[in-house]
Amino acid sequence: MTTIALQMPTAMRRKEATDEPAWVRRTLIGVALAFLTLFLFVPLISVFYEALKKGVDVYLAAIMEPDAMHAIQLTLTAAAIAVPLNLVFGLAAAWAIAKFEFWGKNLLTTLIDLPFSVSPVVSGLIYVLIFGLQGWLGPWLAENDLKIIFAVPGIVLATIFVTVPFIARELIPLMQAQGTEEEEAAVVLGANGWQIFFRVTLPNVKWGLLYGTILCNARAMGEFGAVSVVSGHIRGSTNTLPLHVEILYNEYNFAAAFAVASLLALLALVTLALKTFVESKTRQSGGECQ
């Protein structure tokens, strides 16, 4: 791979003075690619290799099994609730922070990022402290026969918590960079708030919104630590896909564990492909603006 790097057209090459010698270039590219191969590509490939090692039949059986299907369903449900809620939150937060000047704005922006810096295990624990049997609302919930911890609502809550910042943090800098002129022009032309939002602001941020949503969804479907604390690991009931991987793995059912894991790895690859596509789109539309 490294030898081809030398054959680039001469027109592409920068001036000698700010260019490294060819052997330095080749070595740096070689070391970087070796590192990435060892730490990224090999683990990724190994997931699919281990999944298919015992044949396609074993692979399909592991995925079609009822507990696995239920886990897929629960993972999709949790993401289908968490992502839209965080999308509305992201839009509201970005509208307030990017379009207005108010006291405490920097603090609010930092608070939105908070879930990123909290350990997933702690994210799950705090909901146990509120809704668990020993928690603040535990006795009341038990009296009314409501279950949040070790049940689906807890899983949804933990998923929402860990994915709160994703969409907001994409939209805030984007909407700040776009300023308020277009919206102000719309006000002058007599548009009301929702018209401004849907016809001016939303079209301007659509790629950033999509970008944040893709990342938010990937994390929502893949979250392990926080969901693990609140789930109770009940097979076929409160097991998401990542938790199902863990159960199969701990039962030494490696082929099935990797088969289910390969679905999540596919999700990761689709996420990266979409992300790259959106990045190229934003680069294009950014070029048009200038």
Partner: protein
């Protein structure tokens, strides 16, 4: 009110801010405060005893040690990867650039079992170390490997944009003044990149401290040897030791907040540095 918010002709401020604050309070702030309030049930000496038992201290040492080592490796190789991606052309560059974010997109449990399979004694990579008596999976080295994997994109993605914006005039000027490439890198390029590099290091370190999913499979989870602090929280929780689990969670939260503060300061420094450069 007039001092709280500057006047604007745009509508929707109260609705947007109100919803933001309500949502953030219900989902994030009130639950987080629960950890602190619940810990106050313990007296200070009780709290201190819980968070400084030998097994807990061993878990801090492991968590911070492995996270620091992993973040350091990521700083070195992240800088190298960012440099190669920005400065050189090679086949498959776009694919490599896209795949750098894999650790962000791949669920941690998947990363955990994949790395364990690779580094186990009979795994693709582990088999080369086994004859020398070096075990990677189920030891602290395995934890370091997992944390390196999940921290990898942070340094690359913080250094990359700064490197892209670096003006070539500076390097040309250095060359004109007789500096060789190494001198130019050490005295011109590296100082400009340094705040971003440090930010990336801090982000990778902060993420590694709290990491759970990718670590527990490869760690072996032996008390005093390969047990990370987040796992200890889960262990205490499974033993219905809520006070103990919450006390440890508070320690981790305080550390997270401190890291968040440091990262914000670093980012501010980084922005100022690149603005003045």
């Amino acid at each position: 009110m007039s001092t709280f918010k500057q006047h604007s002709v745009l509508p929707g401020f109260n609705l947007a801010l109100g919803f933001t604050l309500l949502y953030l309070s219900l989902i994030v702030l009130i639950p987080l405060s629960a950890a602190f309030i619940r810990t106050s049930a313990l007296t200070w000496p009780e709290f201190w005893t819980v968070v400084t038992t030998p097994r807990v201290v061993a878990s801090y040492r492991l968590t911070f040690g492995a996270s620091f080592a992993a973040a350091l490796v990521n700083a070195v190789f992240g800088l190298l990867v960012a440099w190669v991606l920005v400065r050189y052309r090679f086949p498959g560059k776009k694919l490599v650039d896209a795949l750098v974010d894999l650790p962000f997109a791949l669920p941690t449990a998947v990363a955990g079992i994949a790395l364990t399979a690779l580094y186990a004694g009979n795994g693709w990579i582990g088999q080369f170390f086994e004859p020398f008596g070096i075990r990677i999976a189920f030891t602290p080295i395995g934890i370091f490997i997992a944390l390196t994997f999940i921290g990898l994109p942070f340094v690359v993605r913080t250094v990359q944009p700064v490197l892209e914006d670096l003006e070539s005039e500076l390097e040309e000027a250095a060359a004109t003044l007789g500096a060789n490439r190494l001198q130019t890198f050490a005295r011109v390029i590296f100082p400009t990149l340094f705040p971003a590099l440090l930010t990336g290091f801090a982000l990778a370190f902060a993420r590694a401290i709290g990491e759970y999913g990718s670590v527990i499979f490869i760690a072996g989870n032996m008390p005093m040897v390969s047990e990370i602090t987040p796992l200890l929280i889960i262990t205490k929780l499974e033993q219905y030791d809520y006070a103990g689990a919450t006390a440890l969670a508070v320690v981790m939260l305080v550390i997270s907040f401190m890291m968040l503060l440091i990262i914000n300061l670093l980012q501010w420094w980084s922005r100022r540095r690149s603005a003045s450069a």
